[in-house]
Symmetry: C2
Subunit: 228 residues, 2 copies
């Protein structure tokens, strides 16, 4: 089974990739859709280029598609990107977003290929426990009451997960960040030939919206073995 | 004819793309091979990410392939990237490099697709005259006696071309930079929906090797019309 994995660099798309590789699928391309609307025209948008660093570490070609960001147009733009790839399936890291899953399913159906969502409707705590057992994953964006700026740049480990579970009980923060409460970045995984190391970061905190971003100004890859 | 254009962001690959579009080819993907050896592991390698900004401006998906940079391995890595694309041909901006053209031809033959090199063996002065008539092109790297640091960031216009012709007569500098004398970056072309604007640049000059790089620290896209 030749597949493309929809890849943004966070925990869910890395989980999708991890799962696909474990199935023995031939992962031909990572596909990343860049939206004009939420990324703006600027080059120095935080972290957008880190996806390429991850793809280099993984060693799978990265396809960057561009879209205006208008909702329905976006689906068509994704379809056009996938259409030109010799693949039998597409794998997506959707957890609970009906909108995201439905549009990928629809595109797959129209292209006559299969669609996989290995994390779909997983129990958030179980899922996060598996995630932290596999990946070196950090929080690079927050947008939820209860997640103060100390969460920016924090590695999600067992202790962080316990705190997230408490925040869920107290403030209904989704433990896996499904409602956009936090964004993650995977610095290392079993299928990375090199790990991503952050050299220079800056916390950008907005007190009014009680949200923040960890801007990674520079980063590099550190080889993990001689195979690199 | 569905094609991929090998794309690095300089004048030759933009010319290849320009030519392909003029032929009425369906350009499905721009393909950029990133070599570990000459780009190192660093994220902040000058200008490497600007290719993505160009691809966004053009609106054609960009495929980034990764290679160790070992000569023969590189050909196989490129083949693997092209192999998964539904294309009938590949277009390359080769001017005079037998090595580059031969390896693209060989890969195309092995994949059963066509290979085009529209600038192949063009007269350098004629070619450069056409280039400056189509593109907003600047020099972002120099490595030849006669090309001092004033050339870094310089737009190639008619006057610059006249000077290059004189430098060719005097020092045998190739007018189109074929021998690696200079590297270019295309900021605008008829098929760009937005132009690339450099916000912050730094000239990095090495007196010992008499060579330099224009490092673009930040840049943005400026829309050219309402269609963007």
């Amino acid at each position: 089974m030749r597949v493309a994995v929809l890849y943004s660099g966070g925990k869910d798309s890395n989980y999708a990739l991890y799962w696909a590789l474990k199935q023995g699928f031939e992962v031909k391309y990572l596909v990343s859709m860049v939206s004009e609307s939420d990324e703006s025209y600027m080059y120095h948008v935080p972290n957008i280029h880190l996806t390429e660093l991850q793809a280099r570490a993984i060693g799978i070609p990265l396809v960057k598609g561009f879209t205006s960001g208008e909702k329905e147009k976006e689906v068509e733009d994704m379809k056009a990107v996938l259409e030109g790839l010799k693949i039998d399936g597409v794998v997506v890291g959707a957890l609970a977003s009906e909108y995201q899953k439905q549009r990928v399913d629809r595109v797959a159906k129209e292209l006559g290929i299969e669609s996989f969502a290995p994390a779909w409707h997983r129990d958030p705590v179980d899922y996060m426990r598996e995630i932290i057992g596999i990946f070196d994953v950090v929080i690079v964006g927050t947008a939820a009451y209860g997640l103060d700026q100390n969460w920016l740049g924090r590695r999600i480990d067992e202790k962080a997960l316990e705190e997230l579970i408490k925040l869920n009980e107290k403030y209904k923060v989704h433990v896996a960040g499904e409602g956009g409460e936090f964004e993650t970045f995977v610095r290392d995984a079993p299928f990375f030939r090199a790990r991503v190391v952050f050299d220079e970061v800056e916390k950008k905190w907005n007190e009014c919206s009680y949200s923040g971003v960890l801007e990674v100004r520079s980063a590099h890859l550190e080889p993990k073995g001689s195979s690199w």
